[in-house]
């Protein structure tokens, strides 16, 4: 039955626009760096902590030249409800939700399985960073809203039913933005955790596959495998790792190389977090 608490629109099926001609494919540039990250804390004053993250689109076609936009709010730590059983450490709740206009297909308002999946991954990534036993009997809510997903509007039709490779990029962004928001909320962490992605891509069947950092799905012919890592740089620890795809069995080192590349991406993202938090602290000191 249709959700009667929202406005559902016409009864008949609506279809997103179908174009007569395919769009020109994005020109792939070889980069050996992650995309530029814009990070800002404190965008939601009513929350305990908040952050906003944007990734630059290296080949913009429209005036708005960003590809991934995430907004994160942290509420807590606060007392658990009376009915909740005793917990010796903080209870972490994570929500990841796409906005209806975030991806090529319009998203509904109810969370689907991929969003729940991202939430679970995010929770594991953050749990390793938070010093949980400093807050017994309390809970914290971490909510990430994907304002714009990491998909190209004009990507070729063959990639329309992609296997969710862009989810990897979204997860790494979620980890980075949530880490900044937690620090903004003043929750003690062992380190600022950052996310990074590396992928094994190949242009066509003839060329040998290469490993790239922070892959843009639309730029590459096909992605064979991808790996998303949440990493604590100063402690040199990994809190979460998500690996998927097919690896060529002949080369045993490919797996290690992919991991190493994603760690490099994590360190780059972490530098952005540290810089932004330093700036926030400096601003705070300037006022008081």
């Amino acid at each position: 039955m249709a959700d009667r608490r929202r406005i559902n629109g016409p009864v008949g099926a609506t279809t997103p626009p179908i174009f007569d001609k395919p769009a020109a494919p994005a020109a792939a540039k070889t980069r050996d760096a992650i995309r530029k990250i814009f990070l800002k804390t404190g965008i939601t004053p009513s929350a305990s902590g908040s952050a906003y993250l944007e990734l630059e689109n290296p080949n913009p076609k429209r005036p708005g030249n960003t590809s991934l936009k995430l907004s994160c709010t942290v509420h807590g730590p606060r007392a658990l409800p009376r009915s909740a059983p005793f917990s010796p450490h903080i209870i972490l709740t994570t929500h990841v939700k796409y906005a209806p206009f975030a991806t090529r297909q319009r998203r509904g308002y109810l969370r689907d399985s991929s969003e729940r999946d991202l939430g679970v991954h995010l929770e594991t990534a953050l749990r390793g960073a938070i010093i949980a036993d400093r807050w017994p009997k309390s809970g914290v809510d971490i909510i990430v809203t994907v304002v714009e997903g990491d998909q190209d509007r004009d990507s070729p039709e063959s990639q329309k039913d992609d296997e969710g490779w862009d989810m990897m990029n979204v997860l790494s962004g979620c980890i980075t933005v949530a880490s900044a928001a937690i620090a903004d909320a003043g929750i003690d962490c062992v380190d600022t955790v950052a996310g990074g992605v590396a992928a094994l891509v190949c242009k066509d069947d003839k060329t040998a596959p290469t490993i790239v950092m922070d892959p843009i799905v639309a730029e590459h012919g096909s992605i064979l495998a991808a790996c998303c890592v949440a990493y604590l740089p100063t402690r040199d620890e990994i809190t979460n790792m998500w690996f998927k795809g097919r690896l060529p069995g002949a080369d045993m080192m490919v797996y290690d190389k992919l991991m190493e590349k994603s760690l490099v991406a994590c360190r780059c993202a972490n530098r952005v977090i540290v810089q932004e938090l330093n700036e926030t602290v400096r601003k705070g000191q300037g006022i008081s």
Binding site: R5, T14, P16, P45, S46, P100, F101, I143, T145, E148
Partner: protein, 347 residues
């Protein structure tokens, strides 16, 4: 002997502990030299300056980010097509002004939804069904969209591709027969029948919440609709589906009627529990979250001054018994100055 230290509280602590006396003390200063101000430093009828940025989303056909103080809203408008064959009880639109058909409403072509559960404030957390406030806001926006007839429906109609006309032009050169011409015109008229409609999904997301959700959401919708460019769509008879032209030049903006702007005021009374018509009161325009929590009565006036004279498109009042016709007139005047502000921000 130690003198007992008097208990002093900082103003933020006082505001948290007893918000009502705190706001009252600010509005009723003890010495006459200070002007009564609200806790946020504004005059009672002073609004926050809106800040608007459009076209920032790539997957939406039109989008706007509106910041009104600490309230931040993102609105994305997305067009999808629906075939007339999929609309139950479909009647073809006619140019006859007496026809009672309201396509936008009858065929549900505008779908606004307001989402608060993004953690924008501590009381709006996700994982629960939409709150009463979210449902009310969506419904109010929905009815205002339809009652103001903001979107011109003729731009939402999708016709067959204009190949028929070209053929007729070629035929005309060869032979001119009056009877046949009439036949052909009839054929054109049939071909010109509406085959599909655009449905506009208007989604509003609150990023940060600090009072006055309706005004901010409505401003965001207005700015996003002004920014919306739908690709040129036509009905392809061979494939029996709606196709769109790829080129950006073929994309046309929507045509909007007027520029309705909403202005909300909350009535703050001297006594916490309002008795019938007693005590002083203040109308706080563009209330923030603290003020909204303390006021029972709110007035929203929607005005449009684009045609020169002021048109009132909607008045809604909830709760309380303070606001009468006199105050309503004052609210319309406040709304007029708010209209100038929003217009300057939009353009």
């Amino acid at each position: 002997m130690a003198t007992p230290k008097s208990l002093t509280l900082s103003s933020t602590t006082f505001a948290k502990l007893s918000p009502h006396p705190y706001l009252l003390a600010n509005l009723q200063p003890t010495d006459s030299s200070t002007t009564p101000t609200r806790t946020n430093g504004r005059q009672p009828s002073q609004t926050r300056l809106p800040y608007i940025n459009t076209s920032s989303l790539s997957h939406a056909h039109g989008s706007a980010v509106v910041r009104n103080g600490d309230t931040t809203v993102i609105c994305g408008v997305r067009g999808e097509t629906i075939l007339t064959s999929a609309i139950p009880n479909y009647r073809a639109p006619s140019d006859d002004p007496s026809s009672s058909l309201d396509e936008a409403r009858d065929y549900d072509l505008l779908v606004p939804n307001i989402e608060l559960a993004t953690g924008c404030a501590p009381n709006f957390l996700p994982g629960v069904p939409p709150t009463t406030l979210a449902q009310t806001l969506s419904t109010r926006v929905y009815s205002l969209l339809h009652s103001s007839k903001l979107v011109d429906v003729s731009r939402l109609r999708i016709y067959p591709e204009e190949v028929g006309e070209k053929n007729i032009g070629g035929d005309d050169d060869k032979k001119m027969d009056e009877a046949e011409e009439i036949d052909e015109y009839a054929a054109v008229a049939e071909e010109k029948a509406v085959k599909a409609y655009w449905v506009l999904y208007i989604d509003v997301l609150f990023i940060s919440f600090d009072g006055n959700p309706f005004d901010t959401a409505w401003t965001a919708i207005l700015a996003a609709l002004r920014d919306t460019k739908l690709p040129l769509a036509y009905w392809d008879a061979d494939r029996e589906m709606v196709l769109c032209k790829r080129s950006q030049k073929a994309a046309a903006p929507l045509s909007l009627r007027g520029l309705p702007v909403a202005c909300t005021g909350a009535v703050f009374t001297e006594r916490e529990k309002q008795k019938k018509g007693s005590g002083r009161y203040w109308v706080l325009v563009d209330p923030d979250r603290l003020e909204e929590g303390l006021c029972d009565e709110t007035v929203t006036v929607v005005v449009d001054k684009l045609s020169g004279s002021t048109k009132v498109l909607g008045i809604s009042k909830h709760g309380g018994t303070v606001v009468g016709p006199e105050l309503m007139k004052e609210m319309v005047i406040t709304a007029e100055s708010r209209w100038d502000q929003v217009r300057a921000a939009i353009e």
